[in-house]
């Protein structure tokens, strides 16, 4: 594989960090302040796009490493998997920034300067996670993301948000420490190698098909559990999901980009990295870890959907839906066949676009009517037709209907499950889709049909209702042509190929 030494990944990480002092400096001039956010977001996307153009041709973009600690460097490597995540985060940041401006100004929120500053830090950390070339780099950005998200969770500074913030910190700090212990142990087991490498670093496969284990299998399993606690909290694998519904007290743009895309996907992405690039699917199978992980994923998928069904608060319902959907990615990693991995990786993108649409809609309803209570949404579809149209598209996508992006990820996941002789998992996927329909469609039916009002247009101002339209359109375009924009599906295929067949 061709390697291009180029510092673009580093610049892509740093560009939003550089915007932070400017945002703080122009804190009391709102329009100027927002200019910095958009400038950084557009720059970031441009950088990531230019990297993606190189990576989709099959090469890697590697920044010059910076020595960090004895034996390990800060490595930023843009590989197909990382580029997918980076593209998702940086493109959605632009849309979310438009929405943030609309939402925060319409809601007359306090501390907007701090809000935009911490948002920019979060995006830097997310890109760092996407491009991290080894575990220690990954961990550093992972913890920065944890800390930088906290002020956004407690943005409202009321009792509910402070309690939500505490819960968030408790979950994520414990996870972080487990992760750190696992990383140090891996460094020891793999003899000082922590670099992500497709196919895994821990075991070498002997010609006879046997695996040469670096240590006691029990210790390898224990370390894996520590890893999964580390990434599982952010990926909201049950029973580690408790913080996510509580963190919904944050302003809706935070919930949409961070708690539906950046933070939670960092967890799911971490899971893919650990499974595909540290342990490797073969070793997972050898140690019996894939069934273990799949069991947790399936339980999370089903129970998450049931909890969503039981919630009458729109944001809570979306949060539990996120919990459930994230485990599709974990499940794909656990199955470990090529199709399943393609499905899982594509789901990172598809779910990102669909769920952010749904959150945007929830936020625009809140901005207009100050409610998240589901029974009160009755008849609103006729007053806010654009918002609810976007909501419908997002819901269809989550439920896995064809023509929307979510269908492709589920199809590939199911295909992968069948190829890996785990047909039972297909049943779980189907059941989950039915539950998705059950918790989304009553909302849509009530909103459009349970009212005799004439259709009117009572949307908020444009920055609030345009973003969900954009993301919903993207979800549909990705459903029709999964290689639209920059060839997401190709990149997913490249990444999955690497994981299954090794780097080569």
């Amino acid at each position: 594989m061709e390697i291009l030494m180029d510092d673009r990944p580093l610049y892509a990480v740093l560009v939003s960090l550089l915007a932070v002092p400017m945002i703080v400096w122009s804190g009391d001039r709102e329009n100027l302040r927002e200019v910095w956010t958009f400038a950084a977001a557009i720059f970031k996307l441009a950088l990531v796009l230019s990297i993606a153009a190189v990576v989709s041709k099959g090469s890697l973009v590697v920044a010059h490493p910076i020595p960090l600690v004895h034996g390990f460097k800060l490595e930023l490597v843009a590989d197909p998997l990382g580029v997918i995540f980076a593209l998702l985060a940086s493109s959605l940041w632009i849309v979310t920034s438009i929405y943030s401006v609309g939402y925060m100004r319409a809601g007359k929120y306090q501390h907007q300067t701090g809000y935009f500053a911490f948002f920019a830090i979060c995006l830097s950390a997310t890109l760092g996670i996407a491009f991290a070339g080894n575990l220690i780099t990954f961990f550093i950005f992972y913890e920065i993301l944890t800390v930088a998200t906290y002020p956004l969770v407690i943005h409202n500074r009321d009792q509910e948000s402070v309690l939500g913030g505490r819960k968030y910190l408790i979950y994520t700090f414990i996870a972080g420490q487990c992760f750190l212990a696992a990383i140090v142990a891996t460094g020891y087991l793999a003899d000082g190698n922590l670099s992500f490498s497709p196919g895994g670093i821990l075991a070498t496969r002997l010609p006879g098909g046997e695996y040469m284990l670096p240590g006691n299998p029990t210790i390898l399993r224990l370390v894996f559990v520590l890893f999964m606690i580390g990434v599982g909290v952010k990926a909201a694998i049950m029973p580690l999901h408790g913080w996510l519904p509580s963190a919904m007290v944050a302003p809706t743009p935070v919930s949409s980009l961070l708690h539906a895309v950046a933070v939670v996907k960092a967890g799911a992405f971490g899971c893919l990295r650990i499974v595909g690039f540290i342990y490797g699917v073969g070793l997972m199978e050898e140690l019996g870890l894939n069934d273990f992980l799949a069991a947790f994923a399936v339980v999370t998928i089903i129970v998450g959907s049931l909890r969503a069904l039981g919630s009458q608060n729109l944001k809570q319902r979306l949060a539990f839906s996120t919990v459930s959907q994230l485990s599709y990615i974990v499940l794909g990693a656990a199955i470990g066949s090529k199709d399943a991995l393609i499905g899982a990786i594509f789901h990172v993108v598809a779910h990102g676009f669909m769920k952010i649409t749904l959150f945007f809609c929830a936020g625009s309803i809140y901005t207009r009517y100050h409610t998240y209570h589901i029974p009160r949404l009755r008849g609103m579809g006729r007053k806010m037709p654009v918002t609810f149209a976007a909501f419908t598209i997002g819901a269809c996508g989550i439920a896995g209907m064809p023509l929307v992006a979510g269908f492709l990820s589920k199809w590939n996941l199911a295909l992968g499950a069948i190829h890996a002789d785990r047909t039972i998992l297909v049943a779980a996927l189907v059941l989950s889709s039915l539950l998705n329909v059950a918790y989304f469609f009553p909302i849509i039916r009530d909103a459009f049909l349970e009212s005799d009002d004439p259709v009117s247009f009572e949307e908020c101002w444009w920055p609030v209702w345009i973003p969900p339209v954009i993301t919903a359109c993207c979800a549909v375009i990705l459903g029709l042509n999964p290689n639209a924009f920059v060839g997401f599906f190709n990149l997913a295929e490249l990444a999955a190929h690497g994981i299954v067949f090794g780097g080569g």
Partner: protein
């Protein structure tokens, strides 16, 4: 400058006499002299360190008056100062923190009736002399003398605010004297079997001693004394009251340096003196050090637990120090290259960050009178610089990347894993989680305040004053800014720190793996 190592002691010692006398004439002049003296001391330390690093073996031995200090030239009666990367760096750190503390305390002295400028500066200089002496001396008995100089000036300084401070200081005297006596008895035993007190000489002679019980007894006594002085749990009880009631202006220095210097003595005792391959002393010392490791691991967790239970910020920071210095001791006890580098990084990081925290807390107190956590409501917003300094230093102690605390923890954990000491791994992880708990609680107060609307709940510590509208004096902000910048630099330039300085501190025989 051939005599730099002598000046390191001579400058602060001489000015400790001059300053109180000068202050009878002019308080301003006395202050100027102490600041100048500490500046030159810092430069002398740094210069000696730089010079020592250029010498073969990176060891600069300075003998007073040319008297031979080791016994191969006859009777060892000379006094020796040794500058090597460890002692040079620590001395520089001590002198620099002393300088910052003198600057920081300037605006506060006139506010306190009980503190007289001349005496205060004199005592601070004596304290600095003692700590520097402990750091650079090559002789265990001189170390004892300097230990007592340090302790005596600390007792006097800490009692300066009267009442509770006096009582706390009395308790410190009692505990400290017992510890010093233990040290002396242990030292007596070592002298009895070897006939020398010079460290390098002792190391050679001790390696020939076969009496493991006697060496063990001496080592246990000295170690106990040092652990008490470091305030490692369960020998920590004197520290919390002292840090809580003592004059806030001197605590940054004491909290930043004193326990590090004692930890350094522990390092010298084991790694310079006892660890000679194949000797009985090595074997015995290794066993004692293993026990120290267990105690340190327990203390690491216990200190954090105690810190969580506190309502007073300074008391909380005191227990946090117990936990942090235990992490340093744990690194020394594990003893492989990674763990030792971890201990050095953590010590440096803690020196800057904890001093910075105490300065920040002093600043909060200065403007609002708040010392209890519940009185800190939203002070981080009203005093943004101090709030940011506190937060950054706290994140560093918590060990979150990319701060120095994280890298220290990383090396320490690597060391523990290399040694397959899973219990230590657990202790480090749990300790740092608990530190996140007590710091997050304070930071939440600083920025969000009491969200439940009940406002202040009175408890001991008194009602705080009305929030002062006057901004902090420049001299109270600048040292804090310098400290927080150093805290950040320890993290960002950690690799350069390790490859440029810390790796040369590793004792002979301890090598990086691969």
């Amino acid at each position: 400058m051939r005599h730099l190592p002598a000046l390191i002691i001579a400058i602060p010692l001489a000015s400790a006499w001059i300053v109180p006398l000068t202050s009878l004439v002019s308080a301003w002049l006395a202050r100027l002299i102490s600041i100048t003296a500490l500046m030159f001391t810092t430069l002398a330390c740094y210069g000696s360190l730089k010079h020592a690093m250029t010498l073969p073996g990176m060891r600069w031995s300075y003998t007073f008056g040319g008297w031979e200090a080791s016994s191969h030239g006859g009777i060892p009666i000379g006094i020796e100062h040794v500058i090597d990367p460890v002692s040079g760096a620590l001395a520089t750190l001590v002198a620099a923190l002393a300088l910052l503390t003198v600057l920081y305390s300037g605006p506060q002295i006139p506010l306190r009736r009980q503190v007289r400028s001349g005496v205060y500066h004199g005592l601070l200089l004596t304290l600095t002399t003692g700590l520097l002496g402990m750091t650079i001396t090559g002789d265990l008995f001189n170390l004892y003398v300097f230990l007592e100089i340090t302790a005596l000036s600390a007792y006097a300084l800490l009692a300066k605010t009267g009442n509770r401070a006096t009582l706390a200081s009395l308790r410190y005297i009692l505990v400290g004297t017992v510890a010093a006596t233990f040290y002396l008895i242990g030292l007596g035993h070592l002298y009895a079997v070897t006939g020398t007190l010079n460290m390098a000489d002792l190391s050679v002679r001790l390696s020939q001693v076969q009496d493991s019980r006697l060496i063990g007894f001496a080592l246990i006594l000295i170690t106990l004394a040092l652990l008490t002085k470091m305030a490692v749990f369960p020998f920590h009880s004197w520290q919390s009251d002292v840090y809580t009631y003592a004059p806030p202006m001197v605590i940054p220095f004491i909290a930043g340096t004193m326990s590090k210097v004692v930890a350094y003595t522990l390092f010298r005792l084991f790694y310079t003196i006892c660890f000679v391959d194949g000797s009985v002393a090595h074997h015995v010392a290794r066993q004692v050090l293993d026990v120290v490791g267990v105690v340190a691991a327990i203390s690491l967790v216990a200190g954090s637990v105690l810190a969580i239970a506190q309502k007073d910020v300074r008391r909380m920071l005191a227990y946090s120090s117990t936990s942090q210095i235990s992490a340093v001791a744990l690194g020394l006890a594990i003893g492989n290259a990674s763990a030792l580098i971890g201990a050095f990084t953590l010590a440096a990081n803690h020196a800057f960050a904890k001093a910075c925290l105490f300065v920040a807390v002093g600043n909060f107190h200065h403007r609002s009178g708040a010392q209890n956590i519940e009185y800190l409501d939203r002070l981080g917003i009203r005093m943004p610089l101090t709030g940011i300094a506190f937060t950054i230093a706290a994140l560093s102690i918590m060990g979150l990347p990319p701060t120095g605390g994280f890298f220290g923890k990383w090396y320490l954990l690597s060391g523990a894993v290399e040694k397959r000491a899973w219990g230590y791994v657990l202790a480090i992880v749990v300790g740092s989680l608990l530190s996140a708990v007590y710091f997050a609680r304070v930071i939440e107060r600083l920025y969000v305040g009491s969200f439940d609307g009940t406002g202040h709940s009175p408890s001991r510590g008194g009602t705080p004053r009305k929030f002062s509208k006057e901004n902090l004096p420049f001299l109270m902000v600048a040292p804090m800014a310098i400290l927080v910048i150093f805290t950040i630099l320890v993290g960002f330039y950690n690799y350069d720190l390790v490859s440029g300085l810390l790796q040369y501190m590793l004792p002979a025989g301890v090598e990086w793996k691969s």
